[in-house]
Structure formats: structure tokens, C-alpha cells
Amino acid sequence: MAFIELHNLTKQFGPTTVVSPLNLAVERGEFLSVLGPSGCGKTTTLRMIAGFEAPSGGSIKIDGADITRTPPSKRKIGIVFQSYALFPNMSVAQNIGYGLQIAKLSKQAIQQRVDEMLAIIHMQEFANRYPHQLSGGQQQRVALARALAIRPQVLLLDEPLSALDAKIRVSLRQDIRAIQRELGITAIYVTHDQEEALSLSDRVLIMQKGEVEQLGTPAEIYNNPKTSFVAQFVGTLNTLEATLHDAKRGILQFGSQQFEVSDSFDAALQGTTVQVALRPERLSLNGAVSQNQLHGVVKEQMLLGPIVRFHVEVEQHLLFVDVFNDTNVSRLPNRGEAVVVNFAPHDCLVLAR
């Protein structure tokens, strides 16, 4: 039995359904990200688990106990907010010790646990500072320590990094993951940033309009997106529509050119249109002859640091092609140059929707 179980969890605000029946099982110690655009229901789901929103239907179980109707103060769930939400009238140490004080721990025990938590977030020397004297990143680390100090069963994080600078975002997300591993706590992390979700999580849940699009490991999500929404939301993607030329052998007609995919189709689908997705990094320019080839013209090239992204026009359709920024290996084509785009049949993702 899983540690957290959501069973047919739903939420309606008036006539609008924010979360459609949601079933989810999270294992003990797992780090699960909930990823989706704003308004997809991810934050509402988190708030239902925390107890700040009452579900319209369904149930929430943690460690076998039904907590659907338990008030938030009795759930033993730690939560970290986007806005830090530190108590401005209390010092760092008082903030971290707040939950322990409520739990009526002895002064000594509180002191000990607070020191422990300060060590985990590397902020021992800030114990007596007030939140307004700290940077955003420091405040969020204190908020994390405050949530973890009560040894919660579950840690919920609601876009904890969205208000921070890019550099701090990266370092803090590594800290969060390291602390979560160290304490072995079960964590649910809500974000709209796919990079965060993919880099941090054991599994990623992708939501859109209150529905689950896909649940899987980061690799599954990135390499085998189940729906066109997932494919486009995660990473950069070329999508093109082609007609089935030979359904059985998986040969598709794209304008005046043809290419092959590794799937085979039902003969009845012959002549219909299918959507094919291609990751830019799986395409190459002017490579080996044996692969799929599409002829096109370079319209634009953009330097993205380690890679160069080419915009290649093929059959009046722009394809992004990522090439390593390494001129020792190959000469990079110029704008306006005619090129051949190469890719393997098994790199083509045929999308369900």
C-alpha cells in the first residue's frame, strides 16, 4: 500500500471543475513533482492534501489513515509557500521552533531541534536575525527548516522557487533535494517549471485543466510523452503533420518528401493525417545518408551556449535543429544555405492526440 493515496479526489468551485477525479499513489520517501501550466489544478490539489481546501469528493489517505476531513493543524504536513510566509515578528530560530512550541516540547528539545535544522540549511549564524533582514533565498531555506522541524509525515512545496533569482533557484533546488534524501521524507513539489520537475523528481505528474496527462519518471516523460500536450509542455519540440503513405511500413508523406517512422499502422488509416514530434537534439544537419532525410533551407541560427539552434524551413514548415557548438567536429551552415535534416525512424514520436 502506498504512503499517500488520493482516491477520486475532485474539486469544484461553483460550476467549474478545478480538479477532475484524481487517483494517485505516492510511495514513502518518494519525491513527486506536479507539473502544469497555471490554473491546471496543481496548487488546488496540493492545498487539498494540506487541508486548506475541502475536496468536493474523494478521499486522501496518508499511511493508511483517512485524513480527508482532518483539519490542517492535525495533519502533520509541512508546507513551503512561494511567498516564504515566514512570521515577520519572529526571529529565524523562533520561526523554526514555532511548530515545536505548539507541540509543547521542552525548551531544551526545541533548542536542540532548531540547531539541528539550522545546521541542515547552513544558517547557524542567522538564528537571531529577523526575516526582513534575510534575502529571499535565505528566507525560503528558513521556511523549509520550519516545515521540517516538526518532522512531518509529508512535505508539500508550492512553487517554492518561483520568487527567486535564476542562480539561487538552481542552488536551492539542489539543496531541497539533498535535504529530502537525507531525511527520507515524502515530498510533493508543485511547479510550472519543467526543468525543475525533471531535474528533481523521482516521478513527475503532469496536469492540464484539472486532468492527469501523464505520470512517470522524468526520463519517461521526456522521451515517451503520451500526449501532444506533454510532449510540447516538456522540452522543445518540433511537431509536424504528415499523411500516411504506407500504413503498414510506417512511411509518411510530408509535402513532396517522405520519411519513415518505426511504428506500423492499421491499414484502415491509410491516407489519414498523423502528428509526429521530433526533439531538436535528435535531428542533425548534413549527416549520414542512411537515415531519414528532409531537404530544407537554414532561415536562422541562434547561439544558446553549448548548442546552436538552427531554424530550418522544410516544406514551408520551420524545424528546430540543435547542433553542438563545436566547430572542430563539423562546419556549421550559414543562413540561406540548403541543408539536409537527418534523423532516425525511432526518434519520431507519433502522438496520440
Partner: protein, 261 residues
């Protein structure tokens, strides 16, 4: 988890509102009883037939208008200059504009009479002194309004842009700065108007036939007319604040309230 309106909140609001509405209702009902055994607007009729009602009202409205104009002429360039050239003076101006809070109207008028009723400068019989006193009363919120307006406007950039296009100082103030803080000015102007219109202390001790002393005299000598006048002043205050709110909702600026009592 709870999303229902709180019953206690409702209770507070209802109790609070009734405390505020009761005196108004009582006064209104009272004002209708000028004629024995019938309800009617006789009291209002009498007020509107009284020539000193108009005379004192006109006088106070004129004083209010002059106060507003003089305050703006004095404050807009000053605060603008401070923003542009003298950030340190800005603190001092702010401090001075808080001083009227320390000097209540009754103390102010006392000091004015002491200072200006004997040589070398005798001003107590001049309307100028009354207006100067009103300008002092209006200073805190006039200043705050103008300050808020200028803070919301990028004074420096606007000025530099105007200068680069060849505008001189008067033109910059009147055509660039003033239109940009129009909402704030209207706000301050109406607050000043509301304050000066019914002001009693200064007008009484400087002995001017203003609306405030008129109200005081009527309320001591008559029974029903003061009730009518109370309702009229309350309605007038509403009209003035209605205009302020209207302007502010257009200009998207925060309304400030507060005056002297």
C-alpha cells in the same frame, strides 16, 4: 476550509452601521417636525429663505477656493523642486508639513492673534490671515496629496524629457507636472474644501461671518433649522467625497481621508 460569511462579522457590521446611521436618522426625523403635528420640509424651507445662510456659505466657499489656489501655488513648485533638486530639503518640508498636527486649530488661532494683533504687523483684520490659517490647516493633507502624486510620477525623467524638447520651467510645471498629478490635486482640493467650509475655530476667533460660526449661532438659537442644516452639511460632505472618489476611480489613485475636527 470555512468559506461561509462569519456571523460575528455580520453582527459587528450591523451594530457599527446602526451606530452611524442612528444619529442621521434621528436628525432627519427631527428636521421634519418643524410644523406641529405634521412632517414636512418647513425647516429646510426656512434655511433656504435665510439670507445669511447664503452669505456665510458664499464667504466660506470663497475662502476655501482661495485657500486651495494659494496652497497649490505654494506647494506644487516647492515639492516639485525638492524632488528634483533638493532631496535633503524634502525631509525638512515633510517635517514642516507635519507641524500643523502639533498645533491644533485652537492653538494656531491663539498664536496668530498673539503674533499679528499688535505692531509691527497687524493682520488680524485681514482676510489674508484667515486664508493663511486655513492653508496651515490644509497643509498636511495637501502636502501628502501632492507628494503622493509626484512620487507616482517619474518627475526627473519627465522634466528631463521636457527640457530636452526645449520647454522652460513654467511650461514644464503647468504642462507636464500638473497634468500628471491632477488626480492628487483634485483629492487635496476637495479635502481642503470640505474642511474649510464648515470650519469653526479660526473663523470664530478671527471674527469672520463664515459658515461655521453661522451654524453654531443657529444651533444655539433655533430648534429645527440646525437639524436641517446638519442633514444639508452631511449631504454636502457626501457630494464632495463622491466627486473625489469619482476622480480617483478614473485616475486609479488611492484616496486619502482625514481632516480637522
Amino acid at each position: 476550509m470555512k468559506k461561509r460569511p462569519s456571523l460575528i462579522a455580520w453582527l459587528f457590521i450591523v451594530l457599527g452601521t446602526s451606530y452611524f446611521l442612528l444619529p442621521l436618522i434621528a436628525t432627519f426625523l427631527f428636521s421634519l417636525r418643524a410644523k406641529k403635528d405634521t412632517l414636512g420640509f418647513t425647516a429646510y424651507q426656512r434655511v433656504f429663505e435665510d439670507s445669511s445662510f447664503y452669505a456665510t456659505f458664499r464667504f466660506s466657499a470663497l475662502m476655501a477656493l482661495l485657500t486651495i489656489i494659494a496652497s497649490m501655488l505654494l506647494l506644487v513648485p516647492t515639492v516639485y523642486w525638492a524632488y528634483l533638486r533638493h532631496p535633503r530639503l524634502h525631509r525638512l518640508i515633510e517635517l514642516v508639513s507635519l507641524m500643523p498636527f502639533v498645533i491644533p486649530p485652537i492653538v494656531l488661532v491663539f498664536g496668530l492673534i498673539k503674533s499679528y494683533s499688535r505692531p509691527p504687523v497687524i493682520l488680524v483684520q485681514s482676510r489674508g490671515l484667515l486664508i493663511a490659517g486655513y492653508m496651515v490647516l490644509a497643509l498636511p493633507y495637501m502636502y501628502r496629496a501632492i507628494d503622493a502624486g509626484l512620487r507616482a510620477t517619474n518627475v526627473k525623467t519627465l522634466t528631463e524629457a521636457a527640457q530636452s524638447l526645449g520647454a522652460g520651467w513654467p511650461r514644464i510645471i503647468w504642462q507636464v507636472i500638473v497634468p500628471n498629478i491632477r488626480g492628487a490635486l483634485v483629492n487635496g482640493a476637495f479635502l481642503t474644501f470640505a474642511t474649510v467650509l464648515g470650519e469653526l475655530t479660526l473663523a470664530q476667533y478671527l471674527a469672520w461671518p463664515a459658515f461655521g460660526p453661522y451654524l453654531a449661532r443657529i444651533s444655539q438659537n433655533k430648534a429645527y433649522e440646525p437639524a436641517a442644516l446638519t442633514i444639508i452639511s452631511f449631504a454636502l460632505t457626501w457630494v464632495i467625497f463622491g466627486i473625489v472618489l469619482l476622480f480617483n476611480s478614473k485616475d486609479q489613485q488611492q484616496t486619502q481621508f482625514g481632516g480637522t475636527h
